[in-house]
């Protein structure tokens, strides 16, 4: 296992880059600790796969260095970096049996056959493929094939890191739960350094200790799932994490009060943002209360999605979403209230620290 250092990495595909916009990956400068579980989360085209491929060595960064445990591996090819990777679509060796597929990475490295057997049998057990060990891999279903791919990623216990590139895309929801918690268990058990690329917030948040949110070739925030939820550094993080995403309302500040339309909301602190900045108030739907107290609001729609209700409303001319418990009802003359502790203030899309 290894500590991964990304030292001023930038990457551009194709032509010689001149403007910052030419970079698919703008500038990444971070250190990821040994044994950590990281998720790279962002929409397609945000540079997360580029970053993953730079770590695995399938791509050479245009600028910067990458280090494993302090050792520069920038110029090392993939096979010399001692990493494992699981791809979006199952990659299996058709002509081999399930057993041989799992044994392949070990045999290629000249591991003794007795050790291969021990390790492969462990993985077979873990992935629930034991009863198919001697079947040809070709005839299996997509999720069984992906289990083989996962298994091949996990079979070597000497790797520097295991990289996952949206590995659960082809898996049914129920199976996702099972595989994800299995991965998490393995991580706890063996302490692999894991990097997991996904666009699915649930996968990212549940898998990782630290989630790296990427947007437009940049890392906008690295944080624990709780930090990303409670204090998104950028409105994009607020929007991208959470379902529905954070409500972002344009506003003015008057001392410790936010002014939205004609409504005044007490903030409990006086933000001092840069002058002339675009100011916004961010609040998660989970902290918006629809009840008998607060400001006037127009209810547009109530979606009952089983475990809770999503209320779509218009407040001071802005659309606002609120989450309501399953049992609760929207009262006839509904009003809206915002939990002041859960309000974040954004100046030009970046969060303004409290007391700053």
């Amino acid at each position: 296992m290894a500590r991964i250092t990304l030292d001023h990495i930038r990457h551009a595909y194709g032509i010689r880059p001149s403007a910052p916009n030419d970079y698919a990956l703008r500038e990444v400068n971070h250190e990821w600790s040994d044994g950590g579980a990281y998720a790279l989360l962002g929409p397609s085209g945000c540079g997360k796969t580029t970053l993953l491929n730079i770590i695995s060595g399938l791509l050479q960064p245009s600028e910067g260095r990458i280090l494993f445990d302090g050792e520069d591996v920038t110029d090392l090819p993939t096979e010399a970096r001692n990493i494992a990777q699981v791809f979006q679509f199952p990659v299996i060796y058709d002509t081999m049996t399930v057993y041989d597929n799992l044994a392949f990475p070990l045999r290629n490295r000249g591991v003794a056959e007795s050790a291969v057997k021990r390790r492969v049998e462990e993985i077979l057990e873990m992935t629930g493929l034991a009863d198919r060990a001697n079947r040809k891999a070709r005839g299996l279903t997509a999720d069984q094939k992906q289990k083989i791919s996962l298994g091949r990623g996990l079979v070597r216990n000497d790797v520097n890191a295991i990289l996952f590139d949206e590995p659960l895309t082809v898996i049914d929801p129920h199976m996702k739960w099972q595989l994800r918690s299995q991965l998490k268990k393995l991580h706890r058990q063996f302490g692999f350094t894991m990097v997991y690329v996904t666009h699915d917030q649930t996968e990212a948040l549940t898998f990782a200790d630290k989630v790296v949110v990427m947007y437009d070739g940049q890392i906008v925030q690295i944080g624990t799932p709780a930090e990303l939820f409670e204090t998104p550094r950028h409105t994009f993080v607020g929007y991208f994490i959470g379902s529905p995403g954070m409500n972002v309302l344009p506003m003015q500040v008057d001392g410790a009060t936010a002014v939205i339309g004609g409504e005044r909301i007490d903030l409990g602190f006086a933000p001092s943002p840069k002058v002339a900045a675009k100011l916004e108030l961010g609040i998660r739907p989970e902290f918006v209360r629809i009840g008998r107290e607060g400001h006037p609001v127009r209810i547009d729609k109530v979606e009952d999605i089983g475990r809770h209700k999503i209320v779509r409303a218009t407040f001071a001319g802005q659309s606002v979403a609120a989450v309501m418990p399953e049992e609760d009802e929207v009262p006839a003359d509904a009003r809206i209230a915002f939990d002041p502790k859960a309000i974040n203030i954004y100046a030009d899309s970046w969060r303004v620290e409290r007391g700053a």
Partner: protein, 360 residues
Amino acid sequence: MLELRHVEKIVGRDTHVHATSLALERGSLNVLLGPTLSGKTSLMRLMAGLDTPTAGSVWFDGKDVTGVRVQDRGVAMVYQQFINYPALTVYENIASPMRIKGADKATIDREVRKAAELLKLTPYLDRTPLNLSGGQQQRTALARAIVKNASLVLLDEPLANLDYKLREELRLELPKIFAASGAIFVYATTEPSEALLLGGNTATMSEGRITQFGRTIDVYRRPNDLLTARTFADPPLNAMDVVKRNGQFTAGDRPLLAVPPHLSQLADGPCTIAFHPHHLSLSSQAPGSAPLQARTAISEIAGSESFVHIEFEGSRWVMLSPGIHDIEPDALITVHVDTRHLMAFGMDGRALGAPVAMAA
């Protein structure tokens, strides 16, 4: 109205669809929910007329259309893959079904612009699909299905290849678009949450059978059987085999839970009780809660809430609890079941009692 009458599809020795009857109203949104290979696509192909049923018949507005070719049926289909004409502009792509029909220029222009506006494609009308994002490509395919003015629109996991957030946005817009059209929509998905967000009606599918059909929220809240309940649960449903005796649910002679009022009519004897992960919590605040001792496996934190995987008397359960709970694995904790939401199923899987209707 589209009606399937005892439709069955057998290919070789495999039954893809067991005898199924289903009636879908005009202007309705119908979700087919089930895992991969549960027969969703097979059923859609039968509805579209891409396949002819081995037995049974397909009726449309009171006419038997079983043998009628797809081309003559007024069906539009949107697939998981983004299927557009790569050489045509977005405008021409959307216009293509009307050009085939021979509509006049003015009509085509009006309809294309209307659909483009609806699907937020107006700025991209002059581009070709390959220069668009995945979400925009799928919007183009949807727009094409809409201008076709088909009476039946089939969508086979149309959002599966899109980013999570894009999916969320489109999911929100789709019901509005559907409502404006008046056609019968059939929407296949593997995700229970998608069915709930779309609303409308849901048919849960399992191994080539429709296990239940009704209003989405009703199917979710009052499943007819355990299979339906399991199909319609994400995270997975928590279930346990118990015996009802003297007003208690017992396991291995040990009383577990007092039988809640809505299940008091149940006869004594063995049954399966089940509940959703969010009806399990760490606090005892809910009025009908009952404490249980369970062993933790893994905790997953998803921002505002946590999924705690626990083991109770040999059953694997998931607790979905608001807040952040990073509980050490292998710890003994007390969890509380909100028994007001308890479902009970007989040994044959039939529902014996469902939670009282909450706010119908």
